[in-house]
Amino acid sequence: MNRRHVLSLLIGVFTAPATARLPAPSPAKARRIVIVGGWVLRADDLEKVAAYAA
């Protein structure tokens, strides 16, 4: 199981390929709070993690 697979299990909704070219999240998205796999996160955390995993 690679990192991305772990991540996909973790966030459940992860599908997009993670690249450094991802657009910067909007302020509204950054403020949105999601609970994923027990973590209380900002919505843009998922994109940052995806970028890190890539």
């Binding site: 973790l10 709070i33 609970i35 027990g38 973590w39 996160l41 993690v49 890190y52």
Partner: protein, 477 residues
Amino acid sequence: MLLDAEQRHDGWFKEVIFDVCICGAGPAGITLARALAGKGRRVALMEAGGLEASAQSQVLYQGRNAGLPYYPLDTCRLRYFGGTSNHWGGYTRPLDARDFGPLAQHPFNEWPIKKPDLDPYAERTAEILDLPGQQPPLDVFGGQEDSLEPSVYRVSPTRFGPKYQDELARSDRISLYLNANLVDIELDSSLRSVSGLVFRSYLRDQPFRVRARQFVVCCGGLENARLLLNANRQLPRGIGNQHDLVGRFFCEHLEIDVGRALMASPPSALNFYIASDRLISDRRCLSFEVELLPLERTEPSCALPFPERLSRALLEPARACFDAVVIAVVGQSVNGDSRVMLANEVDRFGLRRLALDWHLADIDRLTLRIAAEVTGRAMARHDAGRVRLDPWVTDAEQEVPLSEEAGGSCHHMCTTRMSHDPKTGVVDRDCRVHGIENLYMGGSSVFASPGVSNPTFTIVQLALRLGDHLDARLDKG
């Protein structure tokens, strides 16, 4: 004057009528005795143990847990001079105004007194507890979070026994008797007034009586109820128990780990936050407190910047470097099914032992989960950190994790709760047992509801207030 009941002779008690006989020399009993002596009253202060812990005394606290998992009943409390202050943590602060209720979603939490009734005793309480000056609270949210308000505890170094032993021994107003175990409360023929308390020591079979004009039982939140229930020779249901309320409403401060926090700036010390009024109203929960307890960080990844640590934690949870434990503290709702009862087993003095049937209500569980979620959201919203909630928090099917080692705070409250109405409480607003003219209860058993703050500050305030009340009553004859 310091006396050992094992060494007593007949003349000690036969001719003496004290102004007040106080049973139990912990924070409540010692504070009350000193307050009354300061007003010139003659006080008998009866302590069941000695000056040091002993097995012969401590074993009398053994009992049975019949409800939710809970600490062994003889480990939470200490049965010797100074009482449980001999091992308390010292974190203390007064109740907040809203703790006196009523709360819309739980109106039964209302006290018959309010914060202004206790405020006049706050300064003396702080002196008694040797509290340091108030420090500004720590706040990882920088004052920007509406739902959680930073709070602060002060830490008392005071052990009541060592601190006050010499003063009590020198006092010509206070007679402190050690090894005096209360075994009965005797009523006069009207059954509305106490004529004397009956005690036994460990080495001598013959009981002895102490007479006084007023009597106060200050033996702790569990034992106060047990003693009233055991005093059933003249009133078969026990004293003050005409409405089957003695021992009911047992409350604890739930203190439960709800998650781990990975933080942008790791906290340097224990942080405290309390729920805002608006949050409690909006979420229809109980008042709660959140603590951030710093963790020792040993993983090599702990040195990485926060965003990288977070990413690694999400990808490799087993190697996550967390900075703090998130702890939720909830003063549970007042619930008649949660109660102190008598077990069938008896102790060496023939008193039935304690059976604790502890229960929670749905609002207690809900409040713990809200506390966890709100903290996580606040952390993320302010980018102060991220919280990983413990699995039971997000799974409503899972029970709150309670065990014999964790879950409560050893704060035993509300078992002789205060109420204007004898049908909803055991003592009145002056801590007097309903239906008995001269019997009072001291300590956290009289709390009408637990609030969130640790109880000792309030226990001392109530003892000082009771001292004023008793002094005034004695003046009236």
